[in-house]
């Protein structure tokens, strides 16, 4: 996340209202834990909530439940140069948060505050800490100096050492229901119909829908969906699809395929699900592959993609060979 040139005021997203109110209450009662863990799927705005909370904590005179945007602390946090605020994320081409970063942050945790009363450290994504980095964090996470808050942001809780998890208060941020996202998305896109369509395209993930709108990724994604739909119905063959999909980043492609499968499987009835075992196996395999890529392994993109697509085509082949082939292929088409 880029921390320079932020808006004057950072507010939480509408569907985070409940979590936000809870945090506010903890702050007003001076019971906010020093270590928080924001966990939830990608694209629900965990980092935005962390940023809003951090800037709220640093602000001299918060107003109306968010930072004021006027004071010196807000000005510094707006330009990313607040001395009592650290935002740790993988730097440069690195995929992990390195131990040096964590050590520096731990030293920061034990320094006095330079600008206001509080200090804030945000660590994101926390599951990308190397093992040694996580161990270096433990002491500081457990007992930071007073008025210091560490906010960890994680997608996969299980990807973090239990020693880190157990030292934090968990704040779960699940995927919000569509009706909470659409009014917000409507402000971005302009009208409700396109907001609904975008949200569906993004598999119900609001920030992804926003991104699709902003970088114009909706049209290619629609085409890609159609292509996968055709492959599922056996209308096109694997090499053709692989050649088309192989043009973009493998990790991104895997996410798209997984999303397609999820949406499809969610619409199946019991009978369909029984036959969908190969597809579930494929999802498991893709998940393992995604974890490996996130951890820095570097598979041959073409081979990996083709092998996934072959299983994909085979899996749908099994689905089609079932009793009511006609109805299920209609489902795919929709």
């Amino acid at each position: 996340m880029n921390l320079q040139g932020l808006p004057q005021v950072s507010v939480p997203l509408p569907w985070q209202a409940q979590a936000w109110a809870h945090l506010q209450e903890q702050i007003s009662r001076q019971q906010l834990p020093h270590a928080l863990l924001f966990a939830g799927p990608a694209g629900v705005g965990k980092e935005r909530l962390a940023l809003a909370l951090a800037r709220y904590l640093l602000c001299y005179q918060p107003v109306a439940g968010h930072n004021c945007g006027e004071c010196r602390a807000c000005r510094y946090s707006q330009s990313g140069s607040h001395g009592d605020f650290r935002w740790l994320q993988p730097e440069g081409s690195s995929k992990v948060i390195r131990i040096e970063q964590v050590r520096e942050a731990v030293a920061f945790v034990y320094r006095t505050a330079g600008f206001g009363a509080r200090k804030v450290v945000v660590l994101t994504p926390a599951e990308r800490m190397s093992n040694s980095a996580a161990n270096a964090l433990l002491k500081g996470l457990e007992e930071p100096s007073e008025d210091t808050h560490l906010i960890l942001v994680a997608q996969r809780l299980q990807g973090m050492p239990a020693t880190v998890r157990s030292r934090c208060q968990l704040v779960k941020l699940p995927l919000p229901p569509g009706d909470q996202c659409i009014p917000w998305l409507q402000q971005v896109t302009g009208d409700e119909a396109s907001a609904t369509e975008l949200l569906e395209l993004a598999g119900g993930v609001p920030l992804q829908a926003e991104q699709l709108y902003n970088d114009g990724g909706a049209e290619p994604l629609r085409e890609q969906r159609k292509l996968l739909g055709d492959l599922a119905r056996g209308k096109v063959n694997v090499p053709l699809v692989a050649a088309r999909l192989g043009q973009q980043d493998l990790a991104q492609t895997l996410r798209d395929i997984a999303l397609f499968l999820h949406v499809y499987l969610c619409r199946q009835e019991q009978a369909g699900l029984r036959r969908a075992r190969p597809l579930f196996q494929l999802l498991d395999r893709m998940q393992a592959l995604q974890v490996a890529i996130a951890a820095g392994s570097n598979p041959n993109p073409q081979l990996a993609l083709e092998s996934v697509l072959i299983s994909f085509a085979d899996g749908f082949g099994v689905m089609r060979s079932g009793a009511n082939m006609r109805s299920s292929s209609q489902e795919i088409a929709s």
């Binding site: 320079q4 010196r72 000005r75 510094y76 330009s79 990313g80 140069s81 607040h82 001395g83 730097e91 050590r103 731990v106 030293a107 920061f108 034990y110 320094r111 006095t112 505050a113 330079g114 600008f115 002491k139 100096s145 007073e146």
Partner: protein, 368 residues
Amino acid sequence: MKFSISRDALLKPLNLVAGVVERRQTLPILSNVLMVLEGDQLSLTGTDLEVELVGRVALPSPVSAPGEVTVPARKLVDICKSLPEGSEIQFTVEDGKVTVRSGRSRFTLSTLPAREFPAVEEGVGTHRFTVKQGQLRRLIDRTAFAMAQQDVRYYLNGMLLELKGGRLRVVATDGHRLAMCTLPSPVPVDEDTQVILPRKGVLELSRLLLEEDQDIAMVLGSNHLRATTDGFTFTSKLVDGKFPDYERVLPRAADKIVLGSRLELRQAFTRTAILSNEKYRGVRLKVAPDVIEIVANNPEQEQAEEQVSVDYQGDSVEIGFNVSYLLDVLGVLSGEQVKLSLSDPNSSALLEESEDGDSLYVVMPMRL
């Protein structure tokens, strides 16, 4: 904003200020130096969010238009350094660019808005006092080597400055050895206090103490330490923690007092250290009347033995030490004689220069 200044007047403060600015900065503004022009004074500020240094230079003539701007520190230093000695440098700020002119050279530097530069506010310190730079330098030089590095006991990664009963004392320890130095002259403050200056702050501060006889005004607060000299203002964050009670570590019951020549002992230790275990650096001291025998051996079964005559009367004792710790102490001590006080092989040794020295060193023994 427009002014001109001689290269040589600018270079010295600029160099020191840019030294604080870290090379590897994720935030662009932190690799910049803040230039503030007010009246006939130019101040330069560099920060890494932990240590801030302000350098001040007087301009030959007051300028009409005050202003402030930030420019890339490293590039500005490199430009000023490579200009010929004795040249005049002209600065002009226009449309978010700084133009640096000197003779027939012309450089245009990018800027960032000064309001984004995180300068520490004029803090409210609770304790103020003034010492000579030479005095402070001595306190730091005598103890800084004993500070811990990246210890999990974070409060050891720095130096304790203590004001107690009108006297200033600094203490540094890494848990294996302790160094303590007290300012002989009293410091007029009413209240006692303790602050821990982080390691980086100690090293930066000692770089500023160049003029032995000049005053340095110190302000200790709950969050900051600020030191002001004629040309500079240094501000550092503190370590937020409680320093261990060092008084309890000082050996009280030492009854075996050894007096020896500092240089002879130091040379003997340096030689025996060659054949000590490279990792643990252990040497054995056999103290007997009028002589210390120093023995070291390593895993390769090589052995070094040395005898140094000393002034000692009493029972024999055999005690092991990490020779690096002893050498560190003998390196900062001055004077002909060194006094070593021991009690038994399991108790710490006390090293000092003579009866009326201002420094004390405690070294823990090793079981060999």
